[in-house]
Amino acid sequence: MDVTFSTKKYSGPVRKTVHVLSSDPQNSSSPLQVAALVGAPPDSIVFTSGATESDNLALLGAARAGRTRGRHVVTSRTEHKAVIDACRQLEREGFEVTWLRPGPDGRIAPAQVEDALRPDTLIVSVMHGNNEIGVVNDVAAIGAACRARGVLLHVDAAQGVGKLPVDVVAWDADLVAFTAHKLGGPKGVGALYVRPKPRPALQPLQFGGGHERGYRSGTLATHQIVGFGLACELAGADLSAEEARVRALRERLWAALQTAGDVWRNGGAGPSLPGILNVGFAGIEGESLLWALEGSVLASSGSACSSASAEPSYVLKALGLSDLGCQASLRLSLGRWTRQEDVDRAAEALLGAVARLRSLAPAGVLERIR
């Protein structure tokens, strides 16, 4: 695709500048490309520095703007830190947050959200796809429940946009956060969908110029937005085929790993992101497994960090896993560039490492470390 950069309006009005920078101002400008991928009108897209900023703008902005109407927020324990920490900030500001616990499958049931709603509930924030275990929530049903009660719905969709079909209008969402680098675009740019009608009240987090319709002042990173737009267009072009391909590879990997025995899948069956597989190996210590995989497989363990003070993953803990079960768990991610030979090589490396580590361990670990 041919992209022409223009410097003539580099410091000019933001929205026009973005259009100028796109390859086809009429049909494929960056806002159009980004909006099209999530089924949104172009003027509903606010560009940010990434999903973290989008989540913060959505939650802090909506809560602060609506604090005279209510001070109750509903979210889940398995949200991304960008949502969790924003909600903790709201607690410090006097809001009350209900932290929903997912079911054993890792999902938040719409009925849970409905039950948590109160007359003073301002906003619900539930993620689309979970970044650690890959489960996908039924955000459309959650959106319907929120709409029926006049409560705002914010969705962190950073993991799902570009991987699964997303239609923010069908979700009945008011605010949806996503980011470029999760779908192959550049780091440092993201977007917040802000429902156009009725438009939710949103107090900006930064001031100075009134860019992005006053929601997000500051000169935009135009080159990154161009990249974001192109990435969205590319992701959307073969979304279904790519989803099916990656999902099939993931299932191939899972089938291979099960031959290790005493292995479980965190998140289990049901709707899921195509490229995330979170598996636990009984009797395995996560840091040693990661070390054994060095040079062959890049993965992350169920501990937030591999130092001695490693905290078990709060997502896995929320599923009911023990600390040791968390530590024995590994998240494997597949993507656009993953090929079958990569999966087969990863499975071979993992099976070898697991067998070796189990052979090193004292008797009894398989029963206790799970």
């Binding site: 009797g283 210590e285 840091e287 040693s288 591999s306 001695a308 090193l360 009894g364 470390i369």
Partner: protein
């Protein structure tokens, strides 16, 4: 994120020559174990004693690479000495030898406990 490991940890942990159980042979076998997975280590040492000297020492371990390397080092230091007579087996001695970070020293104490259990264990088999 993978922690950084000293070269000695990488060398000992990658190919631990003393992993496993003592091979059948002359003398008697003693074993000592300490299981504290919540603290990050579960280790078992076994030694074949011949004429009052550790002829062969072996270990099994569940833990991070520092734990595995420390067990390998400790097992190698056990050999050739009377049980309880080897030096350099304490957590304080193992930590600097392997560059074990302070936050992991508790895991070395689990190893120390297993070695103490080994030294106190009665011979259980030939």
């Amino acid at each position: 994120m993978t922690a950084r490991y000293a070269e000695e940890v990488r060398r000992l942990g990658a190919q631990p020559a003393h992993a496993g159980d003592p091979a059948p042979g002359p003398g008697s076998v003693v074993a000592g174990e300490s299981a504290a997975p919540e603290r990050g280590a579960w280790v078992r040492f076994a030694a074949r004693i011949v004429d009052g000297t550790v002829e062969e020492a072996r270990f099994r371990a569940w833990g991070c690479p520092h734990v595995v390397a420390a067990c390998e080092l400790a097992a190698s230091r056990l050999e050739g000495h009377p049980l309880g007579g080897a030096q350099g087996l304490s957590a304080a001695a193992l930590a600097p030898a392997l560059g074990v970070p302070a936050e992991k020293w508790g895991r070395l104490l689990v190893i120390e406990d297993a070695l103490a259990a080994l030294a106190a264990a009665p011979a259980t088999s030939k």
